[in-house]
Symmetry: C2
Subunit: 205 residues, 2 copies
Amino acid sequence: MAARPANPRLAHDIIEAAASLVEERGPEGITMRLVADRIGYSPTTIYLYFKNKEHLLDETVNRAYDWFAEHLERAQTGASAPERLRQGAHAYLDWGLQNPGMYRLMFEWGYLGDISEEAIFARRASWRRTRNVIERGVEEGAFRSGLDSATAADTMWVGIHGLTSLALSGRMFGNPGVADPAVVHGRSHQLADALADSWEAAWRP
Amino acid sequence: MAARPANPRLAHDIIEAAASLVEERGPEGITMRLVADRIGYSPTTIYLYFKNKEHLLDETVNRAYDWFAEHLERAQTGASAPERLRQGAHAYLDWGLQNPGMYRLMFEWGYLGDISEEAIFARRASWRRTRNVIERGVEEGAFRSGLDSATAADTMWVGIHGLTSLALSGRMFGNPGVADPAVVHGRSHQLADALADSWEAAWRP
DNA sequence: GGTGGTACTTAACGGCGTTTACTGACGGTC
DNA sequence: GACCGTCAGTAAACGCCGTTAAGTACCACC
């Protein structure tokens, strides 16, 4: 955030405008001129607060990761680790289906720019939470003792991202076209169950 | 394909140029002017063969799906259905890692346009193959008898897409940044094993 | 009342996808 | 051999885009 002018409110408004436009028109539909129109300033004003379009979108994505993490946290209320894992997976999918434009911007849009170390750390918060839930599950004896929590968190994360991504893009090949949320949730159940089951203590030697 | 002019070779060359540019510069880096430069014609000539950029990319993607299907087919030589399933998953991942630009264009780029029914059918060929392998596995007794092959194929497909997608984008959160192929292949093993195992006959009542 | 800085705008640049109007070559017909 | 379509390809332009350079209006302060 360049933020030379002393108007912190405006920087916030620009991000909000960008976020709403991403949702309305998708990552490909957002332009600096549209953002400027929405806040009632000229396009060049945005460059007083953000170095360029990529930096503006980076900041917008940073805020979206916070909303996303909050959503996941609120959903994971279950008593057991496997249950919290399933709740997390379904909450992840729900957030993606409800914020398709932002989801695509966060997880599919181009390659990562020169974002700061701390921003990268913040973006990984929900992944760390998943890993912690799995670790807790190992401690509780719900998952087998040799389970590597980082690998397992990656696997869960990767599976549920794939489901969300294909559902949003209309490329769920068993049901091409715009995905029926009920079908997608069914897939989410099978995926989360299959992974959680394969990690459970009793199933492996 | 509009294809008014009687130069079928040129339509083919345009698609080849587009495909090579997608790989060199990614889906966001391809422009009609660059494609024209590469084939040695003016940009407007492309519009004699394709309605617009979206249709050109649609045709390019159609051809890429054929290469992709061939790659998967060649890899699935195993004797048992679970083995062919694992081979297919790893071949899928390999193709994505080796053709990152095209993979993103095929599976993440915007929403589907007005492509024909038969093109959609052709694009689903590899998914149907996966479903057939699972069906064969059920017949052979390797997978449990009540298993729904369409749901299972979706689940496998979704998981391996998620892995490929996150690996290509540098967003594998356990290992952020450009993904180490060895690590990604490890994740692929755990994912494919977890799913195949959860479907095996002996493991479920 | 001049001075300097701050917050913002106007105008422009080059590049994009796409369209309109054109050029030149070719084949048939009288 | 002169005329006339048709056909393949092009040049120029339009309205977008991200971004930059130059300018303007306003304010506090001496």
